[in-house]
């Protein structure tokens, strides 16, 4: 009993030391429909989704932060598409932010019931099951009036089980280092020039799995009043040089490339926004394009409706589709709220009329306000997938507690 009281007091004092604690804890009852195409039987399972973030900042600008995320189900085959059915993620770190920014963090993921798979970069007749992923991240940014230098590095260690045919189990590790350097100079508030590099070093495979992306770029954002409307646009033009022996062997698009991104937004009257996006990645072997056009109507109580269409060309799966979504906050009291949501997503392969994919998600959430920024939630969500294995139709009844 004394131990319990001590533990509770330690946890309570730990939480109170962190001024900004936010969490979203949710328990779900999940049930999926039998799907012959996905070869998935009907399944019932519990599912946990929790997120806790705590941060304590001292007057000197030093912050200590802690994040924990738990996501998953004890039934490995409850959601057939998940190769990692259970993920326990913990991250903690220190951030020092004054004129410059320095951050160092350690992250850890423990995977439960990970699916056995055999990606092509492991020996044939072997299977791999991921167990633990640990990473050490550092982020350093020096900022001047018009210049900014960013250096970041993330070291990942994956512990996994490897099985060769009938030879039994081998415990193995895979180490990767992702590093990034970026130098940015802004002559004025609207335009900036950057140069940098992103590198991945794979320490356990031969050098062919290393990857490098060196780039120079120019980006900007502009805002123009247009009578009663407002037009804004962000854009990016960049030239890349991608280097990877494996991509060369697979005849993927390495070498020089140009990337162009434009995002215009027109704010019309009555909280109506017209948004567009153009993304292009062009090289001698690739003409990848994505276009989006959408309209959004929002209300003061944060309710909104979005209608959009999009198309990709030259991409891995050239597609076109429509996306319609809405979230409505219905409330007559400050204590109780109701929030129905609906989201319709349709997609078709541009080169294959027979390949279509529909996803419909409808949900309703009840919200009971406990006190300032803390509430109990309960809801029901139904997701319907048509023609898309391994995703199966599913329903979720959830009960949760959140604070932000």
């Amino acid at each position: 009993m004394k131990h319990k009281a001590l533990l509770i007091s330690i946890v309570a004092s730990g939480i109170s030391a962190f001024g900004g604690v936010q969490f979203d804890l949710r328990g779900n009852h999940l049930f999926t429909q039998r799907d012959a195409e996905a070869d998935a039987p009907m399944m019932r399972s519990v599912e946990v989704q929790s997120y806790v973030h705590a941060e304590h900042t001292s007057a000197s600008g030093l912050s200590l932060f802690l994040t924990h995320r738990l996501d998953g189900t004890p039934h490995a085959d409850a959601l057939p598409e998940n190769t990692l059915p259970f993920d326990n993620h913990t991250a903690c770190g220190l951030r020092f932010m004054k004129k410059h920014l320095f951050q160092v963090a350690v992250e850890n993921d423990i995977f439960g019931h990970a699916e056995n798979s055999c990606p092509y970069f492991y020996p044939p007749d072997s299977s791999v099951s991921r167990k633990v992923l640990t990473s050490l991240n550092q982020y350093f940014q020096v900022r001047g009036k018009k210049v900014r230098l960013t250096v970041a590095a993330s070291y990942f260690r994956l512990n996994y089980d490897l099985r060769y045919g009938d030879d039994g189990l081998t415990r193995a590790v895979d180490d990767d280092l992702w590093s990034e350097a970026d130098f940015r100079i802004s002559p004025n508030d609207h335009i900036a020039f950057s140069a940098g590099t992103t590198l991945k070093n794979d320490f356990n495979a031969y050098d062919g799995y290393d990857y490098g992306d060196h780039y120079v770029s120019m980006d900007g954002d502009h805002e123009v009043p247009l009578k009663a409307r407002k037009f804004s646009m962000t854009w990016l033009l960049s030239g890349h040089w991608r280097i990877s022996e494996m991509m060369y062997l697979r005849e993927d698009a390495q070498g020089p490339a140009a990337v162009i991104t434009m995002r215009p937004v027109v704010k019309l009257r009555n909280r109506i926004f017209l948004k567009g996006a153009t993304m292009l990645d062009l090289s001698d072997k690739m003409q990848k394009q994505k276009y989006e056009l959408s309209i959004r109507k929002s209300w003061k109580n944060l309710s909104s409706v979005d209608v959009g269409c999009w198309a990709t060309a030259g991409a891995l799966f050239p597609r076109r589709g429509t996306d319609v979504g809405g979230v409505f906050y219905l409330s007559r009291s400050s204590r109780f709220g109701l929030s129905p949501q609906v989201h319709l997503f349709w997609m078709q392969d541009s080169d294959n009329d027979e390949f279509r994919f529909y996803r419909t998600t409808a949900s309703v959430e009840m919200i009971l306000n406990l006190f300032h920024r803390a509430e109990i939630t309960g809801g029901y969500t139904w997701s319907d997938f048509i023609d898309r294995a391994p995703f199966t139709d599913r329903g979720v009844i959830s009960l949760g507690l959140r604070k932000w």
Partner: protein, 82 residues
């Protein structure tokens, strides 16, 4: 200024659409639209080849390990992978 920006956008977009459509590529790898990505890790959980990492709260796809199954495209709740 406004008209010039609109004109520039339409000319560039129109030129590229005309040049690119009907010009199928023989190689393409998946990209993440970092402006949309929320770092929710839904793509990590469905990736069978461990090709996705979350770095600085954004998904990063390792093109040397991606097996192009497309599961991450469908799992992404904000349509940020293409």
């Amino acid at each position: 200024m406004m008209r010039r920006l609109l004109l520039l956008f339409m000319v560039v977009a129109g030129t590229v659409i005309a040049a690119g459509c009907g010009n199928p590529s023989n190689s393409a790898f998946l990209s993440v639209d970092k402006a949309c990505c929320t770092g929710c890790a839904a793509c990590v959980r469905v990736c069978p080849s461990d090709a996705i990492r979350i770095i600085s709260n954004k998904a990063v796809i390792d093109p040397t390990k991606c097996i192009e199954c497309g599961n991450c495209i469908e799992a992404c709740p904000v349509n940020a992978i293409y």
